[in-house]
Symmetry: C2
Subunit: 399 residues, 2 copies
């Protein structure tokens, strides 16, 4: 039987990261390829206590259909925290719960883009977001990333060159895949551009709470006087990724369209876990839990940077993130990226090829993404040794 | 700020049922408007026990990212049950987990339909499915429903008249909103038609296990020798609606496209509840639990039918479901449907206007949907009395 798929799905391939994730069943492989939070970041015992209490005292609400926007006290608690911690939320904004941060990104695209429209993204960018734009039939237009965030001149030119651009997508803080944080000056400049062209933007901020070095930079959403920013985040990196609980804070008019789209996708997000998150947020010390995660990741990132410094030949460059989960390693021209990745796998180390994050899936990449939240300290040390060994071997072969 | 929404979202209104659901906060209103399962159908104590054990022994897996297709042992258990109970599943089929039955329907549309394509549905039809087709930019083409299921001649004509029809959507068993079950002869005829025209179909079967009268009718999927049927169902009506756990069994080639689309929507379904469902299915007596729900709904449906017979003037007609959650009441021409619904609300009874289920949202309706799973026995008796009082009043006014 030959099936006739929709145009938007015909070209879309399963995410390379997910494919790697599925193949990582070999326990002898050290994985720097994950995007997972450390299991140490899940407060399982506390969640178990609250869960038992919900089953005992509130099971009817927790197991029954609920409203699409999310559990009202939970929405209010998120909105309050956003206001207090990030200066986010004005009179025109509404906060709703989504099934992970991923759904917020996808719903924004569905609400704003027709098939054939363009979404401008910084290049490289989070593959899950790129695929959600593609799965809605939108084209992803990449704009180069500088050391302090997206190149603002090129961004403005991309908007001018693409009159069908309906949305901008950015991860200003601890970007995935590079770990780069956009400077406050650039944030202001980006906001002036979206204002000038009246083009809504997604500010995706899943890692914003995971700063372990440097000083806080205000979110672009906190500068959003005009109602142009759709702020997406989640509890995946601070409570549990598997529960799939995210949220958006965005102008109410856009949120209403996203609610209708969400109703048609999954009716609402698992209500039991919404209640569980709500009670954890309000009854336990979430800030102290987050402080522990930051400390953990800060130590792991420092260990990985130390390993990279010690082991990598100076021809390889890498970013120095102040938070989040990822480091971006860029190879010299003499080292072919895909050959490097394959040789690492032969030596039992998995990393993610940079091509996975390209806005243009056929463009080349000289970089790989590595992660420090999942591997053990021993694995971090050994993995960076392997990266160095293979790089030196390839460099000497090409001399 | 004026926003420029996508064409597909511009016209889409929030579901009338959800709006009613939200407004049903007045506790003095008797609601026949819900589509909710009875809270008595949630085995909360058993789920609590298993949940405690998962937190204790398997929390890392249950709280971490997982694979898009679903928890492998759970998928295997669902596939086995489908085979045993419904004769569903061939070599070319794959079973995956979705975020409620709703997501299976939406993903099928995303995989198969471009904006502007048509989906043929029986009319009236489940509003959530209609809206998920519309939110993907597809048009919903209605085909009349007879007492024994969709009109087969009109179905064939609709396919011939709509060359851009990419999919057929049916709820053959205990249809929402009418409660009608398609005869086995019609199922065979429908399958011959989709085979003749090579048009894939969704068989949506969320109520299939809730038979309390009559005899089982084979699913269309069980007749699917060619790989044309996407079978969607869920645990919402037998374990918990709020957890959002559904599944599809469909030809693997189509499923692969749906997996890519799902990855972009929510990455995967809440993994904790997948594990919880799996263990409930395999460690507890789910069949005996389902038998209890059937008994409960059988008694409630019988009470409602008794009340309708006793109280409604003979000019009003109603269906006699053998399972599921709904009865469909059709008014004579002398009674304007929306006026009837408004007068019922004044007397503190909520029902769903039939227009909500129309494939053409501007078409009229002479029917209302009522539900017997949620109201108490007293409410069922009193509600049917109100329905009778208002109908008699309106009939005498129009004489």
């Amino acid at each position: 039987m030959e099936y006739n798929y929709s145009d938007k799905m015909k070209s879309l391939k399963p995410s390379a990261i997910r494919e790697i994730f599925k193949s990582l069943t070999d326990p002898s492989i050290i994985s720097f390829a994950a995007g997972n939070p450390s299991p140490l970041s899940f407060p399982a015992d506390e969640l178990a206590e609250i869960s038992a209490d919900i089953f005992k005292n509130d099971s009817t609400t927790a197991l029954q259909y609920s409203i699409t926007e999310g559990y009202p006290p939970f929405r209010a608690a998120i909105a309050e925290r956003l206001k207090k911690k990030f200066g986010i939320g004005r009179d025109f904004d509404t906060t709703i719960v989504t099934s992970g941060g991923q759904q917020g990104i996808e719903l924004a695209c569905k609400a704003l883009c027709n098939e054939g429209d363009a979404v401008i993204c910084c290049n490289p960018s989070f593959i899950g977001a790129l695929n959600s734009f593609r799965s809605n039939g939108a084209n992803t237009i990449g704009v180069d990333l500088d050391d302090d965030g997206i190149n603002v001149e090129k961004l403005e030119k991309a908007i001018q060159d693409n009159p069908n651009a309906k949305m901008l997508y950015l991860i200003p803080t601890f970007q995935n895949p590079t770990g780069i944080t956009m400077s406050v000056e650039k944030r202001k400049a980006v906001y002036e551009i979206v204002k000038k062209y009246s083009i809504p933007m997604i500010e995706d901020n899943p890692y914003g709470e995971l700063r372990f070095a440097g000083t806080d930079v205000p979110t672009i959403k906190s500068m959003d006087t005009e109602g142009l920013v759709i702020y997406c985040s989640s509890f995946s990196k601070i409570l549990s990724a598997g529960m799939r609980i995210g949220y958006i804070c965005a102008p109410d008019a856009i949120v209403q369209k996203m609610v209708v789209a969400k109703q048609s996708e999954d009716v609402h997000t698992n209500i039991f876990f919404q209640m569980l998150c709500y009670r954890y947020m309000t009854e336990r010390d979430m800030d102290s839990h987050i402080a522990d995660i930051r400390k953990l990741y800060g130590a792991k990132c420092a260990l990985m940077l130390e390993g990279l410094e010690k082991n990598l030949p100076s021809e390889l460059k890498f970013t120095r993130p102040e938070g989040g989960l990822f480091i971006w390693v860029t190879l010299p021209d003499e080292i072919d990226m895909m050959t490097y990745v394959r040789k690492l796998i032969e030596k039992k180390l998995a990393v993610v090829p940079g091509t996975a994050f390209n806005c243009d899936p056929d463009a080349p990449s000289h970089s790989v993404r590595i992660n420090y939240s999942m591997p053990s300290d021993e694995q971090i040390t050994r993995g960076t040794e392997i990266m160095g060994e293979v790089a030196r071997e390839m460099l000497s072969e090409n001399k």
